[in-house]
């Protein structure tokens, strides 16, 4: 119901934009531009491309703005995928807008396309800034192409991606200064201001005000740093009135450690223990420059928490049994979720895949959990690169899953691990006849 409401709200915005645009061009001083000469049509459709590009950018900000009323309905994973697809589709609109408008104005002024472009940059208010903004946007989108992104450090990619905000600011001026749809129609201009205020209002509230307000209330601090294995560390966090900080097992938070070298970045980490109303725990593997410094954080360091986020929770499980498939550090939400599901009376089978014995995180805790819930929790470790391992060997494939889970009926499946592993598991489970609605996973690499 909520989903349908939000989709209708989105469709209504598109209808409003199209209606304003069409009205402006049908009632143009030179006659109906949509049915007239090619020049008029080039300009009209060029402007439409610009309007839709700007709207899509605002939508992108809402999709990834960790806006609760959107995220709770669609789930971060779906929003993240939509953000990715929309981001690449956006390039078409971003390129079409200047191309069509430049050709249109060049024809109108009987000049060359290049000369017109130079004229735009030199004589048209705010257009040079918009052109620089467009260049930055395209650069940021290119940096997000998988083949390029994998060669960039996360921090480098993140800084490039954040330049989008600068691009939005650079491009905003020209929309209202020279955008024909706004200069000639104050209602449309008013609506456009509203869209920007609404979007940035949400963004500022959910990304800035809310986390700061929660920090003021709870005064989160690091209470302990506990090594779990050679390259995995747990960070324990405590604060005031922790019982009122509501988080579910499986959810994640964006953490910003307020100490030198950390305060300018926030990263997503899952709750790795059952929420107890007293403290939080996240467990972090050293994968990059940021995570490598985690063991150096001192207890007492203040932490700003944005969250909780995500719909990867026990509420998704409607079956009697749950099969939890984890790969590597993907065990963190699985660890907390399994305990919650067991407490809720479900049977749980954890299938935990690692390269070697040393990579297993929470081995002792998982064994203790299995002992505590003997008969209801089955724990299967799968090791891929250690011949001396006496348990399950090799990679998780269709045969292994079919053997380990002979009966998939009345089972919900939770997946967490590297994205290729999750995709492969999803595909295997679908082939084994599991309905897609019974397979739960969430990618939160933002």
């Amino acid at each position: 119901m909520k989903k349908a409401g939000l989709l209708i709200l989105l469709a209504a915005q598109l209808v409003i934009i199209l209606a304003f645009w069409a009205w402006n061009h049908v009632n143009h001083t030179m006659g109906n531009q949509l049915a007239g000469e090619a020049v008029g049509q080039l300009l009209a459709y060029g402007r439409l491309a610009g309007l839709l590009a700007a709207f899509a950018i605002l939508l992108q900000l809402i999709l990834m703005g960790r806006v609760k009323w959107v995220e709770s309905v669609f789930g971060l994973d779906r929003l993240s995928r939509l953000h990715h697809i929309l981001g690449f589709s956006l390039v078409v609109l971003l390129v079409l807008h200047p191309v069509l408008v430049t050709i249109g104005h060049a024809k109108q002024a009987d000049t060359g396309i290049f000369a017109q472009f130079i004229d735009f940059c030199r004589n048209w208010e705010d257009v040079l800034a918009a052109a620089v903004g467009l260049g930055l946007m395209i650069f940021a989108i290119i940096a997000s192409i998988a083949i390029i992104r994998k060669h960039l450090r996360y921090e480098t990619w993140h800084i490039i991606h954040m330049t989008f905000y600068i691009s939005i600011a650079l491009a905003f001026g020209h929309q209202l200064a020279v955008g024909s749809d706004f200069t000639g129609n104050r209602y449309f201009a008013g609506y456009w201001y509203f869209l920007y205020i609404f979007t940035f209002g949400n963004l500022i509230y959910y990304r800035l005000i809310r986390p700061l307000w929660k920090f003021k209330k709870h005064r989160f601090v690091v209470s302990g740093i506990v090594p779990e294995s050679a390259d995995v560390t747990s960070v324990h966090i405590e604060g005031r009135e922790m019982a009122s900080f509501r988080i579910n097992a499986g959810q994640f938070m964006m953490l910003r450690f307020m100490t030198k070298g950390f305060r300018w970045q926030s990263h997503p980490f899952s709750m790795s223990c059952l929420p107890d109303g007293r403290h939080l725990r996240v467990t972090i593997k050293q994968l990059g420059d940021f995570t490598r410094q985690i063991p150096d954080i001192k207890p007492g360091t203040p932490v700003i928490i944005d969250g909780p986020h995500g719909a990867f929770t026990a509420r998704q499980c409607h079956s009697l049994s749950a099969v939890m498939i984890a790969g590597g550090i993907g065990i963190t939400p699985i660890r907390s979720l399994s305990e919650e599901l067991l407490n809720a009376g479900r049977n749980v089978h954890i299938i935990y895949s690692n390269r070697n014995r040393a990579s297993i995180v929470f081995r002792k805790e998982l064994d203790e959990l299995a002992a505590a819930f003997a008969g209801r929790l089955k724990l299967t470790h799968v090791i891929s690169e250690e011949p001396s391992w006496e348990g399950e060997h090799g990679r998780l494939d269709r045969d292994k899953i079919a053997r380990l889970v002979p009966d998939t009926s009345d089972c919900d499946f939770y997946l967490c691990g590297p994205p290729p592993m999750m995709m492969s598991m999803r595909s295997i489970l679908l082939k084994l006849g599991v309905r897609s609605g019974k397979i739960h996973f969430e990618r939160f690499s933002l």
Partner: protein, 207 residues
């Protein structure tokens, strides 16, 4: 057999005839737009010369703001003439204008004459020219005529207003803005030209 042969020849002649007639009609039509462009070029060039003369007269009679309006409309007409010239050259011809001596009378009479001229252009001349250019599918000419038409409508309105408030237009101080891209004339500054969307940096300010 003879009858079939005759019918065949008749058919071929008919097809050739229709083809030729169609080509002639198209050529005539194209010629129609070219003639119209030449007429419009001649008209705008003469209007420019006439408004320059009217402006000098208005200055001499002390109607400073009317003089500014004539200077602005003169600038506008010169832009229209230039745009028509481009469309003429695209059809492979050279623009031709015969500038007639302007019939300068009192400022009031000059305004009445200007209003009459603009009214003819907006109500009759340009609408007919646009129709013909659309039939000929000459988009360049259509745009040029439509741009001129939008400006002539505004010129007529401004001339009518000046006539109505002639006494108050004696004082200097009125400014007019002419879009240098399309020739549209405005009595107050706008963020963009409502005709061609050019920004205000493209406007000539005429006092």
């Amino acid at each position: 057999m003879k009858t079939i042969k005759m019918l065949g020849i008749l058919g071929m002649v008919t097809v050739l005839g229709i083809g030729l007639a169609t080509r002639l009609t198209a050529a005539e039509a194209a010629k129609g737009t070219l003639d119209n462009l030449q007429a419009a070029y001649n008209g705008e060039s003469n209007a420019k010369a006439r408004y320059d003369a009217f402006s000098a007269k208005a200055d001499a009679e002390g109607y400073k703001s009317v003089a500014a309006l004539f200077r602005a409309t003169s600038r506008s007409e010169s832009i229209h003439a230039a745009k028509h010239a481009v469309a003429i050259r695209k059809l492979g011809a050279e623009p031709k204008a015969v500038i007639e001596k302007s019939d300068v009378k009192s400022t009031k009479e000059n305004l009445e004459a200007a209003l009459k001229g603009e009214t003819y252009e907006k109500e009759s001349m340009y609408p007919d020219f646009i129709k013909q250019a659309e039939i000929d599918k000459n988009s360049g000419a259509v745009m040029s005529f439509k741009g001129a038409l939008a400006a002539e409508v505004e010129h007529a309105r401004l001339f009518a207003q000046a006539l109505k408030e002639l006494d108050s237009w004696k004082e200097a101080g009125k400014e007019f803005y002419v879009c240098t891209v399309c020739g549209f004339t405005m009595a107050k500054i706008m963020p963009k030209c409502p005709v061609c969307a050019s920004p205000k940096s493209k406007f000539d300010v005429i006092k």
